[in-house]
């Protein structure tokens, strides 16, 4: 090794300012991340939903009719689809961020010129894709048991995207906030899991006592499932328009909060 000239007279090289956005690559990376372990991220939740379906169908099929004419197993399927979609949409950004934070490779996303909007969009879109992929697989497997066809595919698509988007944003916030795996687990076990189980996945809230019906109306996840079910049966506990307003409102409010956290560099750039 030999020392270079002490006072180099070099022209300043210029960075490549004409290059495009890093958003497509971040999105692709987030999609690849779950696709590479699809046995864990797609197949496992489908198996879990199938087990719920088999157990509840065995116990309750023929004994319970919902909305007057809908068989219980058919009623259960959209609920299980949405529950799986919500949990997986939450898991995608939250697990990605916490793993990157713990292993230290989060720095590779922070060094490039990615804006907070690009980071937000990539994580939330990947969450939507994973959530919908899981939901579709649950539906396809459930078709072997119950021939359940959509009445209003448009409502199904709207609620699938909005619900997965909302949980994707929540997963992003949880991933930003959590510094350890147990903090994220607490978020999942004490907030996401109870909120999804108590939102009408397994029952119509009209079967609940009045007090618990009122409590359910304060749970935004109830509206995602109820609106999604409307797309299958053309009947629901509340108007799909009301559900749409609530879910869209929660999505927008959470998105603004998440964007603010990202732009401030909360627990990322400090």
């Amino acid at each position: 090794m030999s020392p270079p000239d002490t006072v180099p007279a070099q022209p300043l090289l210029q960075p490549r300012l004409d290059a495009g956005s890093g958003f497509p690559t971040l999105l692709r990376k987030e999609l690849l991340r779950f696709w590479k372990v699809s046995f864990q991220t797609i197949a496992a939740p489908v198996i879990t939903a199938l087990l719920y379906l088999l157990v509840f169908a065995q116990v309750l099929e023929g004994r319970v009719m919902v909305y007057g004419s809908v068989a219980y197993t058919a009623f259960l399927i959209p609920g299980l689809m949405m529950m799986s979609m919500l949990q997986n949409a939450f898991a995608n950004p939250s697990s990605s961020l916490i793993q990157s934070r713990i292993t230290g490779n989060l720095v590779f996303m922070l060094l490039p010129p990615l804006s907070h909007r690009e980071i937000f969009a990539a994580y939330v879109l990947a969450a939507i894709v994973r959530g919908i992929a899981v939901g579709l697989c649950v539906w396809l497997v459930a078709l072997f048991f119950v021939p359940l066809w959509p009445q209003y595919p448009g409502w199904i698509a709207v609620f699938a995207v909005l619900a997965c988007g909302t949980m994707g944003v929540l997963g992003l916030v949880a991933g930003l906030w959590s510094e350890k795996f147990d903090q994220l687990a607490a978020f999942q076990n004490f907030l996401i899991m109870p909120a999804t189980f108590l939102s009408g996945v397994f029952y119509s809230i009209h079967t609940l006592p009045t007090f618990w019906q009122n409590v359910s109306h304060w749970n935004p996840i109830f509206y995602t499932i109820d609106g999604f079910r409307y797309g299958f049966f053309a009947v629901s506990d509340v108007s799909p328009w009301r559900s749409l307003m609530v879910v869209a409102g929660v999505f927008i409010a959470l998105s603004l909060y998440a964007l603010r956290l990202l732009s401030s560099g909360y627990k990322l750039r400090n």
């Binding site: 090289l13 210029q14 960075p15 590779f108």
Partner: protein, 265 residues
């Protein structure tokens, strides 16, 4: 235009739970001052050494340049681009090899480099990626998963990731810590070639013989302050000692003395 500029940069890390204490009206501790009014400029094409003991503030300074940490006061820029106001341009101008051996276990070496390149908006960059892989001795590992690599190989991938967008300014934060002689030689040959091609290099290392051999100019940090800043030869001549390590020890001891003066140009 300078390649790197720091003007009166200070960084104070807030103590943990400072927000909660403030919320309840309790006075929190003052926090940790990592950098104390640091001013520095590095010219294009320089091979610049940033030396100091552990905790001196080297990584904080690099983190401010890279946008990983916000300066409490002062201004930093890369190739004339402010790291906060013009962060997109500043980050395109900077390649950083982090100190920690970090990697994404989901991907192969080539995928890792393509992803890093794509983050900078460069999606058809395989020719340059192949050149980096070859020059860093990684060509035969291109399709290996990151988990399967030895520590030294992972370190090479870190260097490759920093170079993937051809940054004019390259910051190497202790790139040879714990790596074998072969990698050191390969790495320094490649980095020296990049430097001769016009890339500005900023190096932090605890191997002072490397800094002495490579760096044209050196800054020494202690407790967040620059205690020496000069060409390598001038530092050695001024302080005395047989080599840079000897000069480093003397300067650090002088900085400990109550009446010490900064040894700067």
């Amino acid at each position: 235009m300078t390649a790197v500029s720091l003007e009166n940069v200070s960084k104070i890390y807030a103590p943990r739970n400072a927000g909660w204490k403030k919320l309840f009206g309790r006075a929190s501790e003052p926090g940790f001052q990592a950098l104390d009014h640091v001013s520095l400029s590095i010219e294009p094409g320089e091979f610049f050494g940033l030396l100091g003991p552990n905790g001196a503030g080297k990584t904080s300074l690099i983190s401010i340049l890279a946008g990983l940490v916000k300066a409490t006061t002062g201004r930093a820029s890369v190739c004339g681009y402010d790291v906060v106001a013009d962060y997109k341009q500043a980050r395109r101008a900077l390649g950083v090899v982090p100190q920690e051996l970090v990697y994404d276990p989901f991907f192969t070496v080539r995928e890792t480099l393509r992803i890093q390149s794509g983050y900078f908006g460069l999606r058809k960059n395989d020719d340059w990626i192949d050149e980096i892989l070859f020059n860093l001795g990684l060509a035969d590992k291109a399709n290996s998963n990151m988990r399967a690599l030895s520590g030294g190989m992972k370190r090479r991938v870190l260097v490759a990731q920093a170079l993937v967008h051809r940054p004019p300014v390259i910051v190497l934060d202790e790139p040879t810590a714990g790596v074998d002689v072969d990698l050191r030689r390969t790495l320094w040959e490649f980095i020296s070639r990049l430097n001769k091609a016009g890339h500005t290099i900023m190096l932090t290392t605890h191997y002072l013989e490397e800094a002495e051999a490579l760096c044209g100019r050196i800054a020494m940090l202690k407790n967040g302050r620059i205690v020496a800043l000069d060409t390598t030869e001038a530092l050695l001549a001024r302080v005395g000692g047989v080599d840079l390590e000897d000069a480093f020890v003397r300067i650090m001891h002088q900085a400990d003395a109550p009446s010490s003066q900064e040894i700067t140009v």
